[in-house]
């Protein structure tokens, strides 16, 4: 019904070329790389400001990355909308607590899955800000500029991720 936009998935190469062009457009029109982890930092600052406005505004890191509804924040609500549109157009939008691969190893109970996701999210948030970027900022935008910091970070993202995934599979037996 929606032609190409209604397909469940595209070739990974087509999606990749599209993302590469998007990165170029971001440099051209917005003079910045595409990154996602800063949005979570800004959101954490905005939530913190509800409770302790002065203390949060005085913090060194939030002065470097002001908690505001700017480009770097808006990209993440945008991703939610874009992925929602893609899923709805292909008729694959589905509320699900436990992904298939997790269920095959650890069962369908949502509690352990959400607990692992929460713990993983905390490490991901710390690690992304520690390394100064995430899979998109370092992995794609930075690597495309042949940045040593980004290639080093991306290699460690995957080295750490592969090791953790293998340990997880062994825990499941």
């Amino acid at each position: 019904m929606f032609g190409y936009f209604g397909l469940e998935t595209w070739s990974p190469y087509l999606a990749g070329v599209g993302i590469g062009i998007l990165v170029c457009l971001a440099f051209l029109i917005s003079d910045r790389p595409i990154g996602c982890s800063t949005a979570f930092l800004k959101a954490s600052g905005m939530i913190g400001k509800i409770f302790r406005r002065r203390q949060v505004e005085a913090m060194e890191y939030y002065r470097l990355f002001a908690p505001r509804l700017d480009w770097q924040f808006m990209i993440v609500p945008g991703i939610v909308i874009g992925a929602f549109l893609s899923a709805v157009l292909s008729g694959t939008f589905l509320f699900a607590w436990v992904p298939g691969l997790w269920e095959a190893s650890f069962g369908g109970d949502p509690v352990p899955r959400v607990a692992a996701a929460l713990a993983g999210g905390i490490l991901l948030g710390i690690g992304a800000r520690w390394a100064g970027g995430c899979t998109s900022g370092h992995g794609i935008s930075g690597t495309a500029q042949l940045s040593v910091a980004s290639v080093l970070s991306a290699a460690c993202f995957f080295a750490g991720g592969i090791a953790t995934a293998i340990v997880l599979v062994h825990l499941a037996g």
């Binding site: 190469y13 949005a39 990209i75 899979t135």
Partner: protein, 186 residues
């Protein structure tokens, strides 16, 4: 069209951020990399969709950004490398990546496709983690983040070759690696 004016207008940029996000989220979901099973398949080395999407994006952006910069239409945006920041932070990120099964961009895409583990586990976790880092930042920045600084900022500097040479070599490496994956049946 005045590029500088558009780049400096904060309200325009906030709207552009949303639009870039929508396009990015759409492409991530269509590329199947917003799925836990696809990302974990990559980390278990059984499904190479993530590598295919990322490597193609890097190849496209590497050539596009070089052309834009050589025409004065784009600036370079890179960070100073260090072991303390990139290696330690990267490994902490990796541990979270393997446990969550999404990264900061794809977790948002997963929320958009209805994955509730991303919405109620991954997103609050990322907010807590980023907030914890903000609190720890003054101590970390003095003691750890700049430790083991690496002098060359870019691969051409590191390899002592011209930028054009490095781009051609990287492009060949990506094409060979992707062709190899296809030939091996991944």
């Amino acid at each position: 069209m005045d590029l500088d004016k558009i780049r400096r207008n904060e309200r325009t940029q906030a709207v552009l951020g949303l639009l870039f996000g929508i396009a990015f989220g759409f492409l991530l979901q269509k590329g199947a990399v917003t799925r836990y099973d696809v990302i974990m398949g990559q980390l278990l080395l059984t499904d190479f969709t993530v590598v295919k999407v990322m490597a193609t994006a890097v190849l496209t952006a590497m050539i596009g950004l070089y052309l834009l910069r050589s025409r004065g239409l784009a600036e370079r945006h890179i960070r100073a490398p260090s072991i303390g920041s990139n290696v330690i932070g990267g490994l902490i990120f990796g541990a979270g990546f393997g446990l969550l099964g999404y990264c900061p961009g794809t977790v948002a895409g997963a929320v958009g496709q209805g994955s509730l583990d991303a919405l109620f586990g991954g997103v609050p976790g990322l907010l807590i983690g980023a907030g914890v880092f903000a609190v720890a930042y003054p101590a970390l920045s003095r003691r750890i983040l700049s430790r083991g600084g690496v002098k060359p900022q870019t691969l051409p500097e590191f390899l002592h070759v011209r930028e054009e040479t490095a781009i051609v070599l990287a492009a060949i490496a990506i094409v060979v690696a992707l062709s190899g994956l296809e030939l091996l049946g991944f």
